[in-house]
Symmetry: C2
Subunit: 70 residues, 2 copies
């Protein structure tokens, strides 16, 4: 996937808790040869979630968390 | 989780393709009583990805997509 083509800037409001999750996940995916940014984590998250929805494999408690979250 | 407390604004650069995925996923999670926003999809994605990492259940091809993506 060509990265610089047709990119869009997305603004998302997240809680500090979610920001910490992001940082933690980015760190866990990183290694000494490869630093993973928080942006990359977000992009991976989008891909994973989309895949789960397509395959009908969305964890039920994830959907539930929507209701608390709006 | 209290939503308005300690929120942070996150800027992420995504491709148009990923933006379309977001829209599509938001639509698929929506129903006539509950409209799901793209921001919510991103937040769910963060949660899902974090959970997968914690449980060591990250799909191997998701990790692979990192290498094309930086």
């Amino acid at each position: 996937m060509p990265k610089r083509e047709k990119s869009k800037r997305l603004q998302v409001v997240i809680t500090q808790e979610q920001d910490s999750l992001l940082t933690k996940t980015a760190y866990q995916l990183s290694n000494p040869e490869r630093l993973v940014s928080k942006s990359e984590v977000v992009r991976l998250g989008i891909e994973m979630l989309n895949r789960a929805v397509e395959e009908g494999k969305l964890p039920p408690d994830i959907i539930k968390s929507l209701d608390h979250d709006s």
